[in-house]
């Protein structure tokens, strides 16, 4: 992930205007924008792996990858086109910089667990609605029991899960042996501190609350 910074955070709105057509997922996308920026701008190192499990509404993801020079800016306008590498759900085979193909909910976290078993630091982004899928909890349980410290999950919690998580989603992770940190999902400094709060002895979850 040898990113070459070509554009900054303030350029993201302009990049997003190039990505049109998937407006029904605008909120899903925009709720991840600041978390993605903080990850690519401050948190992820060259040997780290980022797994975007929340593949719905990837325009923010593509915009951040373009800002960091991983996707050519000129590809953005082709979003959703037949010959474009950038679809409504990311495809790692097509899109440069995309580390897993996602879109169907509940797949990223188990893959992230497998990658982290090798010792590589892996950060996986999921949505709170996505956590309804049972496959996530297979991963959360097992990663906690084996103390998979190389793994960090960030939950973008925009309260879209119909039945939500009484008492806070972080409690479910803590019960399984994870450390947790909460942050305002729009506050870059708070997000960075939340990622840094991992102890290195257990998997870590950052719950980034982003409300409309």
């Amino acid at each position: 992930m040898a990113a070459v910074t070509t554009l900054g955070y303030d350029d993201l709105p302009a990049l997003l205007t190039l990505l049109t057509g998937d407006e029904k997922h605008d909120w899903s996308s925009l709720s991840t924008l600041d978390v993605l920026w903080v990850l690519y701008d401050r948190v992820l190192g060259p040997d780290d792996r980022f797994v975007l499990s929340k593949g719905h509404g990837p325009t923010a993801y593509y915009a951040v990858l373009a800002a960091k020079g991983l996707i050519p800016v000129e590809e953005l306008a082709g979003f959703g086109g037949f010959g474009s590498p950038l679809g409504y759900h990311p495809d790692r085979v097509l899109a440069p910089g995309v580390e897993i193909s996602s879109g169907s909910l509940g797949h990223g976290l188990p893959i992230a667990v497998g990658a982290a078993l090798t010792g590589r630091r892996v950060i996986c982004l999921v949505g709170d609605g996505e956590l309804d899928e049972g496959s996530n909890w297979e991963a959360v349980q097992w990663a906690g029991r084996i103390g998979l410290a190389a793994l960090t999950t960030v939950v973008v919690d925009n309260h879209t899960s119909t039945y939500h998580w009484p008492g806070g989603v972080e409690r479910r992770f803590e019960l399984e042996g994870w450390t947790s940190a909460l942050a305002d999902g729009r506050d870059h400094d708070a997000l960075e501190r939340a990622f840094d709060a991992r102890t290195g002895a257990a998997p870590h979850v950052v719950v980034a609350e982003v409300l409309r």
Binding site: R92, H107, P110, V113, G114, A115, L117, A139, Q141
Partner: protein
């Protein structure tokens, strides 16, 4: 005789000497293996099992995933499709408990549709060994590669292994005699069924990719009988495609697509499905007889000039 399953655990333990290899199990089989830092037991979590294998493959490892057939192929089917196939990542899936091996256990532990389900996904190599030696050959080849490979273990076994990985003629009939293709552990039953019948018998263990060229070269008549130890007709379209420009008839034998609500022994199931020697012979004779009748009918109805 060493069972395929016993042979697999021994080979799997040895394979861990290669630092690229990791094993991902979901309880089943763990007790048969020595403890090892790259033997990951995820507990009874089969979706995770496939996802973890994909993550390991993403990091350049060669994961071997093992469980009982329904829990390996059916429960995490979408993970197999997306985490491995769509990600374009490789893994070796090794099932145990084929078709009616778990005859006493009922439908929950039976998945004769395993091969058809995986064959519906692109890019899988599917191996149906009929002997523990053939399993060893398949597994060693799979470990040396980086693709997606499914290896189906079974309690059934032929008495002796067959050399060669492509379609192999094991007994040649007269020119144009019915052609019987036995897959994996059906070979001994097929050889017994066709004893004294003028048939050509061939053998195949790698059913995907299907050896279409081998079939075209070996088939010299019009009648083809396909005998598969899993869902009947699983490879029928492959046979038809291979012979698409030749007039031919196909009889596809295998486990019927039905809720089969019986317990009992594997031998009883085999017999009930018509996959024992007597059942296979009866099916072949009926197939050949109908051919004879139709030939006579054609001769009666063809106008004479």
């Amino acid at each position: 005789m060493t069972t395929m399953r016993e042979r697999f655990y021994r080979l799997a333990a040895d394979a861990l000497e290669d630092e690229r290899v990791a094993m991902v199990f979901a309880e089943i089989g763990v007790a048969e293996m020595p403890r090892h830092p790259r033997l990951f037991n995820v507990g009874i979590r089969e979706q995770l099992m496939i996802g973890v294998a994909a993550g390991l493959a993403l990091e350049g490892m060669r994961p071997v995933v093992h469980s009982y057939t329904p829990f390996l192929v059916e429960r995490p089917y979408e993970q197999i499709k997306l985490d491995l196939g769509h990600q374009d990542l490789g893994a070796v899936l090794v099932s145990t408990g084929a078709s009616y091996d778990a005859s006493l256990s009922g439908r929950t532990h039976q998945a004769p549709e395993d091969v058809a389900a995986l064959a519906a996904l692109p890019g899988w190599t599917i191996e149906i060994p009929g002997h523990a030696d053939e399993l060893e050959r398949s597994l060693r080849r799979a470990l040396a590669g980086d693709g997606r490979v499914y290896i189906r273990l079974t309690q059934e076994s032929n008495a002796v292994p067959v050399e060669g990985d492509s379609l192999t003629v094991v007994r040649r009939g007269t020119e144009g005699a019915p052609f019987v293709l036995a897959v994996g552990p059906t070979l001994d039953q097929v050889l017994a069924a066709t004893a004294g019948l003028d048939t050509t018998v061939a053998y195949l263990t790698t059913v995907r990719p299907f050896d279409a060229a081998g079939l075209r070269a070996a088939v010299r008549g019009t009648d083809v009988v396909l005998v598969e130890p899993y869902l009947a007709g699983t490879s029928a379209a492959e046979v038809s495609s291979a012979l698409r420009d030749r007039p031919h008839r196909l009889l596809a034998l295998g486990v019927p697509n039905a809720e089969f609500r019986h317990y009992g022994t594997p031998a009883e199931h085999r017999r009930a499905h018509g996959l024992d020697a007597a059942g296979i012979r009866a099916s072949i004779e009926a197939f050949a007889d109908r051919n004879l009748v139709q030939t006579r009918l054609r001769s009666l109805t063809t106008p004479r000039l």
